[in-house]
């Protein structure tokens, strides 16, 4: 597999090998074709061997009869052609000797001959070169117009594949293939399931060269369009890719966005928190398997949630696109959500650092950014979104988090347990508790029970530890928990654990909450001493 490191030709240049076989086969006979194929930029008819000195590189030189009468003239012509880096030498057929061919091979200069008059041949060749050039340009234009009308990424890449002879076209991000298709697959509507990171999907690539074009340029890895073609298709393929790169960029982003939104579960923050204020815009019912099929990311990802005021949305967008230009931001009520790929080498730390760097501008504004723990696969999305939202929520509201110097950005894993206390505003916690656990609140032992539940949750469900912490016997603990269950607290339900924890913690810190008293909405501002470890 070789990569073409030469300067790529501009538009309208013609390769000698293609040109001769396709357009000049009946005019010329090839005696030697230099292995490093030449490009024809110009054509010169030489009637006096002296004139060769003035010929520029990549010129196809045609020697007239007078300039090739002596064998030495052909040899000297080959030498000059070599020195001048001519595309090749065309001589009268009668002047070709075995020696001339041997010399052409030695010098690596393409040697062709013609049976026709040199002037006529030169004119004919020039005409055909011109036609070839314009043919190529027209062909490219035609393709570009068709590509612009493509509906969607798959159709566009299918067109690209057709244009380069049905070869597989891939879109890659951060080294992973995110999209791969051939013209046949698009036509037959087959999807390619053989995508795996870094592995060329089943296509034989011996003898082919790689042609690629960047779709975007940016701080993080940009997308790359990549195909493998045979060496003489290389230049045209390069031009094709360059022509479609902008469209691919737009369509890839669109594709990613739609994948993202169709992959997200129909979450409502009400499900998370019980409040109807945090609905997702544009709910779509979530079909796990369908989502898996269109899952746009291989490898691990984190979810990032940005909560901010409407008036800051353009700023947020700007920062986001500067930081993650190819990761779409999904709009939710009061914020945005995104799934950012994580590179194995750098881990989430790189993403976190990028987010922090981008969002420091918002340090004094009312904005919070949260990042989930990393995970893989569509099944993970729900929890990731949850974590990111929570972290964002905390980051936005809490003075404490700001003072820790991390700006408005907080990752879920870094949430100290004690923060859980400040996660919900106390008034909210009280209201929620009243709404959700009325029986509990009415109970005479409510405070004790709540303390117990909180201790248990703080100790991650360890009864012995919680008992130790509270200074009571295990049996006592169990008895209290039983009582809590009777009062309607859903201790056995893991989905509610967190919200329970938050609400009850908030409740505990509300001022004036004592067992047996009915707390008022205006709780005291004083905090409990129940600090986190």
């Amino acid at each position: 597999m070789t990569k073409d490191t030469r300067r790529s030709p501009g538009a309208g240049e013609v390769r000698l090998a293609d040109f001769v076989s396709a357009y000049a086969a009946e005019l010329t006979q090839v005696h030697h074709l230099a292995p490093v194929g030449g490009v024809i930029r110009d054509l010169a008819l030489i009637s006096d061997i002296e004139e060769i000195i003035g010929v520029g590189p990549d010129t196809l030189v045609v020697l007239s009869d007078t300039a090739s009468q002596g064998d030495w003239m052909v040899s000297a012509g080959l030498r000059y052609a070599w020195e001048r880096r001519a595309a090749g030498l065309v001589v009268p057929h009668s002047s070709v000797t075995k020696t001339a061919v041997r010399l052409a091979e030695r010098l690596g200069v393409s040697l062709l001959s013609t049976e026709y008059d040199a002037t006529r041949t030169a004119l004919d060749l020039a005409l055909r070169i011109g036609l070839t050039r314009s043919g190529q340009v027209a062909r490219l234009q035609q393709f570009t117009s068709a590509a612009a009308r493509a509906n969607g990424l798959r159709e566009l890449l299918g067109l690209v594949s057709t244009e380069v002879g049905g070869r597989r076209v891939r879109v890659e991000t951060a080294g992973s293939i995110v999209f791969s298709v051939t013209a046949d697959e698009v036509e037959l509507d087959i999807s390619n399931d053989q995508m795996s990171e870094g592995v060329i999907d089943g296509e034989a690539i011996d003898g082919l060269v790689e042609v690629s074009a960047e779709v975007t340029g940016g701080k993080m890895d940009s997308d790359v369009l990549r195909i493998f073609v045979s060496p003489d298709e290389r230049e045209y393929a390069g031009r094709v890719l360059e022509a479609v790169a902008p469209s691919v960029r737009a369509l890839t982003a669109e594709f990613r966005l739609s994948s993202l939104t169709s992959s997200l579960p129909s979450l409502t923050i009400a499900a998370l928190t019980g409040s109807s204020r945090f609905d997702l815009i544009g709910e779509v019912s979530w079909n796990a398997s369908e989502a898996a099929g269109r899952w746009p990311l291989t490898g691990s990802f984190v979810s990032v949630c940005v909560l901010a005021e409407e008036r800051d949305s353009s700023a947020v967008h700007q920062v986001w696109h500067a930081t993650f230009p190819d990761v779409p931001l999904a709009r939710i009520d009061s914020g945005w959500l995104a799934l950012v790929p994580v590179r194995a080498k750098e881990g989430k730390a790189a993403v976190l650092a990028a987010v922090r760097a981008g969002f420091t501008v918002f340090a004094d504004l009312d904005l919070g950014v949260g990042m989930s723990d990393p995970g893989m696969g569509p099944e993970r999305v729900a929890a990731a979104v949850q974590e990111a939202w929570l972290a964002a929520r905390l980051a936005r509201s809490s003075d404490r988090t700001r003072s820790k110097g991390s700006g408005p950005v907080l990752e879920f894993a870094a949430i100290p347990l004690g923060l859980a206390q400040g996660a919900l505003p106390r008034e909210l916690a009280v209201e929620l508790a009243r709404a959700m656990f009325p029986e509990l609140l009415a109970d005479v032992e409510a405070h004790v029970i709540i303390e117990t539940i909180v201790a248990l949750l703080d100790c991650r469900g360890s009864v012995s530890k919680a008992a130790q912490r509270l200074g009571v016997h295990r049996n006592t603990l169990h008895a209290r928990l039983r009582r809590a269950g009777e009062l309607g607290v859903p201790l056995g339900d893991p989905d509610s654990t967190l919200s329970l924890h938050l609400i009850l913690t908030g409740l505990l810190s509300a001022r004036g909450f004592r067992s047996g008293t009915t707390p008022s909405a205006e709780g005291e501002e004083s905090r409990t001493d129940r600090d986190s470890a």
């Binding site: 002296e50 002596g70 064998d71 030495w72 000297a76 080959l78 030498r79 020696t99 041997r102 010098l107």
Partner: protein
């Protein structure tokens, strides 16, 4: 000085070396005649310097001009140059005091020695070309605007003519036509001038040069030693050892309206495998290596046999043979613009100019 038989052999070897001609036989025949004459008469040829003569003394150039049957086909009978010299002397009303060869190479280099012995005239150590050229007008005398005539021309059949002509180019045409009518060659005496004029215009010391080259070639030392001697003291610039390739001779026939195309001989350089091409037209006009010009007329390009450093001829350019191609620089007059113009071969015009 008087030459002995060894000098004569050396002269012959040098004459062959200086002119890689197709017919070494002419030179060898000429040498044999000189030696036979020396045997028969007991005489020895005399070689003098131009300064040994009175400045006013009459000196003429003698040599064969060919156009038709070769010297080995139509052999000279032995009185042609005697007649030519007599004619010239008559035309000038005085005796000829010195003879110089028409060219410093090939058979013509040897001619004045036999003629000199036959007529009792010494040979002067000078010549008008310093090498061989195909045309009689290609001389340093012509570059110096000296007249070519009157010219005496004598045929193998015994006919003779005296041409009163000044312009060398014109003299060349007349002589060439006459030679054809004569059956193939004319024995000529031309460029009559004073010793003084010869001293200023001629290429001096060319004959002793040839003898010196011949001495190196004929010595019993090894080839390597001879090569270094040739480089050191005989002005040889390049020696390229190459083997004649199978696709060698490519000759194209003449056409009256076209300039003769040289024939090409292809060799392969022993050391590096470069493709060596020699362009041949009676002599080797040009040497290309991988298409690049390494030597071109007026450079002198000649051939030696590697085994014994004997002079090879164009006949040795047969497939498989290994030869040492030698390049010498000609007299400096030929590298001036006027010299290049005069010495030019039409088929090689462009190449010569870029060197």
């Amino acid at each position: 000085m008087y030459l002995d038989s060894e000098d004569v052999r050396n002269l012959s070897a040098g004459a062959l070396f200086n002119a890689c001609a197709a017919e070494p036989e002419w030179t060898e025949d000429g040498m044999r005649r000189v030696l036979a004459h020396m045997d028969m008469t007991g005489l020895r040829p005399e070689l003098k310097q131009v300064t040994d003569l009175d400045p006013d003394a009459l000196v003429v150039c003698v040599g064969f001009v060919n156009n038709g049957l070769s010297l080995s086909e139509l052999r000279p009978v032995g009185d042609e140059f005697i007649a030519a010299i007599e004619l010239i002397a008559e035309a000038h009303g005085r005796e000829v005091a010195g003879l110089i060869p028409l060219a410093a190479g090939s058979a013509n280099a040897v001619v004045p020695f036999l003629a000199g012995m036959q007529c009792g005239i010494p040979v002067i150590d000078a010549d008008p070309m310093g090498r061989i050229f195909p045309l009689v007008s290609q001389t340093v005398f012509a570059l110096n605007s000296l007249p070519i005539g009157p010219i005496a021309a004598v045929s193998a059949l015994g006919e003779s003519a005296l041409l009163r002509v000044d312009e060398p180019a014109r003299g060349e045409r007349l002589l060439r036509a006459l030679a054809e009518e004569f059956g193939g060659w004319a024995a000529t005496a031309s460029y009559p001038m004073t010793a003084d004029a010869l001293g200023s215009a001629g290429i001096l010391g060319s004959l002793s040069n040839l003898i010196a080259i011949g001495r190196v070639l004929e010595s019993s030392r090894g080839t390597d030693h001879k090569h270094s001697e040739l480089r050191r003291s005989c002005g040889v610039r390049q020696i390229v050892r190459a083997r004649v390739s199978e696709d060698s001779w490519v000759a194209r026939p003449w056409a009256p309206s076209r300039v003769g195309i040289p024939a090409s001989v292809v060799l392969e350089e022993e050391a590096g495998g470069q493709i060596i091409q020699l362009e041949v037209q009676s002599e080797i006009l040009m040497m290309l290596s991988d298409g690049a010009v390494r030597a071109v007329s007026p450079d002198i390009i000649t051939l030696l046999r590697p085994a014994d450093c004997s002079v090879a001829s164009l006949d040795d350019l047969w497939t498989g043979n290994v030869l040492d191609i030698c390049v010498l620089r000609a007299a400096s007059a030929w590298y001036t613009p006027a010299g290049r113009k005069l010495g030019r071969r039409p088929s090689l015009a462009m190449m010569e100019e870029t060197r």
